[in-house]
């Protein structure tokens, strides 16, 4: 069993519940059998209660707002101010991008839905290429007469064709396609197989 001298050293902490669990157990075990230490503990308790009753608790009303206000009054580091300025600007630019995106989306939708002319114009550049590409065998040597007559004529690939051929199927392996835009004519030449 612990001596009263050791226990009395821990009574203040015991009163304040600041001991380790095993120490709390040891002190409590000793107090159950020692009237002297129990009296000392009672004195500690009385003294603590009296001290707490005479000490005035400061009021904390408005404490947090006062602290924040004081922090705000502190001079901000330059980098912090720059970062804050940039963040505000980025927010503004982001809004600008959103508006720009909205306007662009509306413009695209309008062009697609309202102006078939635009679609025709957009397709025009690819028309001649498509026509040539879809022919199974492009510009194969046709009849000599054809070649002689059209050697210097513009071809579908570099002119505003008057027929947009999207599909051309033939068993013939010598299909030739060309355009004569000045006469609004496109020619598909299917020479008979030998």
């Amino acid at each position: 069993m612990a001596e009263c001298g050791e226990i009395s050293m821990m009574l203040g902490a015991f009163e304040d519940s600041e001991l380790e669990p095993n120490e709390m157990q040891e002190v409590a075990f000793h107090l159950a059998r020692c009237e002297s230490c129990t009296g000392i503990l009672a004195d500690y308790s009385t003294l603590g209660r009296d001290l707490r009753s005479i000490a005035a608790e400061p009021s904390l009303a408005g404490f947090s707002s006062a602290v924040i206000a004081r922090v705000d009054r502190l001079p901000q580091p330059v980098f912090t101010r720059i970062a804050r300025f940039l963040r505000r600007q980025a927010d503004s630019v982001g809004t600008g991008f959103a508006w720009s995106g909205a306007v662009a989306a509306v413009a695209v939708m309008t062009i697609i839905l309202m102006t078939p002319y635009a679609r025709q114009f957009a397709n025009r550049g690819a028309n001649s290429t498509t026509a040539i590409a879809t022919a199974e065998h492009e510009a194969a040597p046709a009849a000599n007469q054809v070649a002689q007559a059209t050697a210097n004529e513009p071809t579908m690939a570099d002119n505003d064709s008057h027929a947009d051929i999207s599909r051309l199927e033939s068993e013939n392996h010598s299909v030739a396609v060309w355009s004569e835009p000045r006469r609004d004519t496109t020619v598909i030449w299917l020479p008979d197989q030998p």
């Binding site: 939708m109 009849a143 008057h162 027929a163 051309l168 004569e180 006469r183 299917l190």
Partner: protein, 174 residues
């Protein structure tokens, strides 16, 4: 009321998507397509050009180098978009033309050329209104056959077409 950019975008897109088709298709589009077919025999027999070819002569000479062009058939007919029209051509050829749509000044159509029952060529194309597609190459008698296919939404024969007057009796109007 504050309108956020996202809300505004949605609103404008919705108006555009649902409001403009009516505007786009408000104009009544002609649905009938007139098709003109001239069948020409081209050869190197130095017989000149059939006078019935009319304005086609210059065009054919500009496109090909034959010395003889003879009109061997003329067909014409009208059909609605989506309905196929068939033409019987000289030399046992059959031509199917099916206008699909009229898009501004272009006529979308499918053309199938048969040699008897055998399909020689199938093509999907958009032909300019009053434009001409020429399909040529198949042998015909001592030369080659050139088929001029013209299409129009206005019922006026394209300038390329041969003069109908005096066409051979076998080239019946379809």
């Amino acid at each position: 009321m504050t309108l956020r950019p996202g809300s505004l975008t949605f609103l404008i897109i919705a108006i555009t998507a649902f409001g403009t088709p009516g505007l786009s298709y408000a104009q009544p589009a002609p649905k009938q397509v007139f098709v003109y077919i001239d069948s020409v025999m081209a050869a190197d027999t130095n017989e000149g050009t059939d006078p019935r070819l009319g304005p086609m002569d210059k065009k054919l000479r500009g496109l090909f180098g034959f010395s003889t062009y003879s009109l061997i058939g003329h067909n014409e007919g009208q059909t609605d978009c989506g309905k196929m029209i068939a033409f019987t051509l000289p030399g046992g050829k059959i031509l199917h033309v099916q206008p699909r749509a009229i898009d501004n000044d272009m006529i979308a159509m499918e053309i199938v050329l048969f040699d008897g029952t055998r399909p020689m060529m199938t093509t999907d194309l958009k032909l300019k209104n009053n434009g001409t597609l020429i399909v040529g190459g198949p042998r015909y008698e001592q030369g080659m056959m050139i088929i001029s296919i013209g299409a129009s939404t206005g019922g006026v024969s394209p300038p390329m077409q041969a003069q109908v007057v005096g066409t051979p009796a076998e080239a019946n109007t379809h």
